[in-house]
Subunit: 209 residues, 2 copies
């Protein structure tokens, strides 16, 4: 009897938790969009609420405070972003194909998800000032590094050679290129972006022996 009651209560509790979590991520997504639009410095709770279908008060029902909310939004970002190149790696049969499709995807997400990417860089930078972001940022950064490494090490494999640098260096090189391309993309300088696109294959080749 108690067992039945328990499992029933459990089911109820679980359902409530699920619902709670669902709404949390829903609000976190709204937060993500607001952050991507305005940047960290200008994002307020009322603005976030306006990008959702709720009023601003509800945010404190689902989140302890603003930091909690933004942290959750950052985690949402990670879910979106970190496996982007995996299918490219999976379907590649020749080094040339892998390189070309990687470059294509690279510049595709650059313009497609530009606001999300600038948000990521904004938050990573925020972590230079606010230590409470650092753990999450470092974790995401390491996932991005691993993602890049899967591409480059596979590329080296296909070319029957080895990467020329460590995962860390490989990552920061490509990330540096991405960051600058993003700046010029948002500054509306397509020529510069095109130039960088032209150079990227050469850089990739530089990254393997």
């Amino acid at each position: 009897m108690t067992q039945v009651a328990d499992s029933k209560q459990d089911r109820i509790a679980r359902r409530q938790v699920d619902k709670f979590e669902a709404r949390r991520t829903e609000l976190a997504v709204a937060t993500l969009h607001t952050l991507a639009e305005l940047g960290y410095a200008r994002t307020s709770l009322r603005e976030i609420a306006q990008n959702s279908e709720f009023s601003h008060g509800v945010l404190h029902y689902y989140f302890a405070d603003k930091r909690d909310l933004i942290t959750e939004a950052v985690r949402q970002y990670e879910a979106v972003c970190v496996t982007r190149y995996d299918e490219v790696v999976a379907r590649a049969t020749s080094p040339g194909q892998l390189r070309d499709e990687f470059v294509a995807m690279f510049f595709d997400t650059l313009s497609e998800d530009a606001t999300l990417h600038r948000l990521w860089y904004d938050l990573r930078n925020q972590s230079l000032f606010d230590s409470s972001f650092r753990a999450d940022v470092l974790e995401i950064d390491s996932h991005r590094e691993a993602m890049v490494w899967r591409v480059i090490s596979r590329y080296a494999e296909l070319r029957d050679t080895e990467p020329a640098t460590s995962p860390a260096t490989t990552y920061v090189t490509l990330d540096g290129i991405f960051q600058r391309a993003l700046l010029h993309h948002l500054t509306d300088r397509p020529e510069t972006v095109a130039e960088m696109r032209g150079e990227l294959p050469g850089v990739i080749d530089l990254l393997v022996r």
Copy 2:
């Protein structure tokens, strides 16, 4: 007579302008320190004034508005930062010396001027959201690129070869490394920074044929 009066007035006017400019840069420097300490998102005019010897009202006597003030501070930053490696280049007589001294200077300023550097990245990122910063940011970025190029092209010359990539790619590669090293430095992970230091010479060699 009018001429004498004019030149005298001119002198007075010039002195006033000089004084005005001197105080402007004085306040811009205070702004720079505040920004480096708190980051863009948390820097207020009253906080800036507290880092100077004046009250907050004076800022609007010397600057049109907050943007004007911050823009001036950014220009101050540039004056500090953009010729850092020039003497290293000037005194280098062998490729090994140039490379070693560059690496040393690289990691020296990383820890010495860490807060200033994080400010730079903060403002560069801010320009992804606020177009009114972009012109200044792009200009400073191009100066940084030129600075790095002077080092690498000279290094190639000393080694009797050529740079392997364009100035832009060369810059973003080293800047990406710097940025990540800065993150780990501020996160208090000296091991990671040391690792990156160990790898930097190899990267430099990768950047020339």
